[in-house]
């Protein structure tokens, strides 16, 4: 019986766009939750709420979003002070300016400086700027991260290998309402000669959440 593998259109040497191996769910035993998803999806299509094509398009749109989008925005802010000012004033508009289709996302960029290191969490659920950065990492959604980020951010950052000086304050943002946050990490030293694309390659996903810093140049 033929079965669809739309994800194979996005194979990168057998790995998904995120660089992880694909989960082999099409051959595992059917779970109750998968039954529910299939039934729900079919009923929605039959009742005209959506279509198979719209569902596939949404999956592809989400797959196309990744931290690379955020990295491009950060790199531009590093090289272009006017863009940086626009980013800090309205990060959603600045992202759209760069051509990213982020939908109705209310995005706020917060800047890391010598005085302040920002860390983003959603203690109530797992809100994340998905429409720019793609789906959040699993750890972001864990009880451990969500509980401890607001209580002992420095200890949490140590687990991520990030050590913030006592002279720098940590500012934790708990995304309790509709705003979503992206951290503008500090530009690494010794990068004056790098162009935007090279700079973007230094910007990690974790540096835009605050659990990391941008990589130093090679």
């Amino acid at each position: 019986m033929p079965h669809d593998h739309p994800d194979h259109a996005h194979d990168h040497d057998g790995m998904s766009p995120s660089g992880h191996p694909y989960r082999v769910d099409n051959d595992g035993p059917l779970t109750y939750w998968q039954q529910m998803e299939i039934a729900m999806r079919e009923l929605l299509i039959e009742k005209g709420v959506t279509t198979a094509a719209a569902i596939q398009a949404q999956i592809e749109a989400m797959d196309a979003r990744s931290p690379a989008n955020g990295a491009a925005v950060v790199a531009r802010a590093w090289v272009n002070p006017d863009f940086k000012a626009r980013l800090l004033a309205d990060a959603a508009e600045a992202s759209r300016e760069m051509g990213f289709d982020i939908g109705p996302l209310k995005l706020i960029a917060v800047e890391n400086t010598d005085e302040v290191h920002n860390l983003i969490v959603c203690t109530l659920c797992s809100c994340y700027p998905r429409n720019l950065l793609g789906l959040p990492p699993d750890w972001y959604k864990t009880r451990a991260y969500r509980s401890r980020a607001v209580r002992e951010p420095r200890a949490v950052l140590e687990e991520f290998g990030v050590n913030i000086s006592k002279k720098t304050k940590i500012r934790v943002h708990d995304s309790t309402a509709d705003m979503r946050y992206i951290v503008l990490p500090a530009r690494p030293e010794g990068t004056e000669s790098l162009d935007e694309a090279a700079l973007a390659a230094l910007v990690t996903r974790d540096s835009m959440i605050g659990t990391g810093v941008a990589r130093p140049p090679e």
Binding site: T123, V150, R151, P153, K166, K169, I170, H173, T176, A177
Partner: protein, 92 residues
């Protein structure tokens, strides 16, 4: 001089967007964010009143006392107006 507020120590059942760890805690309004449909009503599929939303900043000292890693570190959270009690500038 930023407005000082305290998050009400309410404890209702149901869907609210004021985290438990902030209830009864004092902070300052960092900025007003505009008015939005009350999520506590939207969650139940009823028409939602628009409520002002504020970003409120709390020190780790206020939240965790002597257990705070670094007392001057802060937590910002977005809280709707109906959860805020306005404090006098010199209130404890």
């Amino acid at each position: 001089m930023a407005d000082r507020v305290r998050i009400k120590a309410w404890a209702p059942p149901g869907h609210v967007r004021a985290p438990w760890y902030l209830r009864g805690k004092a902070g300052v309004i960092e900025r007003e964010l505009g008015a939005f449909g009350n999520p506590e009503q939207l969650a139940y599929g009823v028409a939602a009143a628009r409520k002002p939303l504020f970003r409120v900043r709390f020190t780790m000292l206020e939240l965790w006392g002597t257990a705070a890693e670094s007392p001057d570190d802060t937590v910002d959270a977005e809280i709707y107006d109906h959860w805020l009690e306005r404090l006098a500038p010199d209130a404890p």
